[in-house]
Symmetry: C2
Subunit: 166 residues, 2 copies
Amino acid sequence: MTDAVAVALEQWRRERPDLDPWPIGVVGRIMRISRMWDKEIKSFLAGHGLEPGEFDVLSTLRRSGAPYELTAGAFLRTSLVTTGAITLRVDRMQDKGLVTRIRDGDDRRSVRIRLTDHGLEVIDRVLPLHLDNEARLLQALDPEARAQLSAMLSTLLESYGDTGGQ
Amino acid sequence: MTDAVAVALEQWRRERPDLDPWPIGVVGRIMRISRMWDKEIKSFLAGHGLEPGEFDVLSTLRRSGAPYELTAGAFLRTSLVTTGAITLRVDRMQDKGLVTRIRDGDDRRSVRIRLTDHGLEVIDRVLPLHLDNEARLLQALDPEARAQLSAMLSTLLESYGDTGGQ
DNA sequence: ACTGATTAGCTTAGCGCTAAGATAATCAGG
DNA sequence: CCTGATTATCTTAGCGCTAAGCTAATCAGT
């Protein structure tokens, strides 16, 4: 069987034989997989009443450890979205009772975003299911392939200096 | 150096030692890379007056070969977006003079979308630059790694039955 | 202390997309 | 031929995000 990107590569070789379309073999496939996973994960999370962006905030807070509290700026540095998106996510999550905003006493520009008890309960319940769901998406790869794939992706991220802030 | 996902994995192992977060090593990295590339490519294309979705339509038409014409449904089957998105993209591209809509004479429900001379000129000019740009994003990987990576990504897409329609 | 630059976060118009429903043409069975 | 189901596309309200500008607090140099 050939995937959709293999077909596109073959078409390009026929139509533009003067060009070598090899980068599409990597970039096209990664973007295609990412879009498919976006939908899968969005649909999975919807079953638990969460948007992907909200799950992302919950995860980041949870794995930062007790007291499950980070400034809005700390999210920016790990999240690849703009400040406006963080503000809006936290607005929605506050309405849902997942997090609270706390003005910092020392630096009154700063806002600390903190997981509520409910938020902690939600992420601790959903995370294991989320991991199972992601593992299912990777079933086609054996453990060795998974490790090789992770390593190559890591090489790419490192080449972009992606350390998630600092 | 460690990438942002390696840091997240380490945090999870500390905070939830009862769980094995390995799927994040693959899924998290692919999604993170995809979002970074989305921005790079969007910014690159903006320099040529194109949106990513528009470039996608131009590419699909161009590589389908003369007469550079496909039905709206054919895009749907290769594109991972909804029918509404195709309609809106074609609306914008028609305004820009990149494509034209032609009602099919045989099946009058069907609309054939056709590259204009201008559209053909644009995609033939931008594509080589786009490939150079993508190659730049993959500089960190040697040719052998690129081939291995493509093969593993292809395995995943095939496991989802992704043949781009048919 | 004062002043300009910087930092942290919020606001909002606009964008592309989705989801759900609508319209219109074609097909399939009796 | 009808009639109901299907197919192809368009329409539109609403969503999350971006980009650009804003407010307010803090810092750095004099």
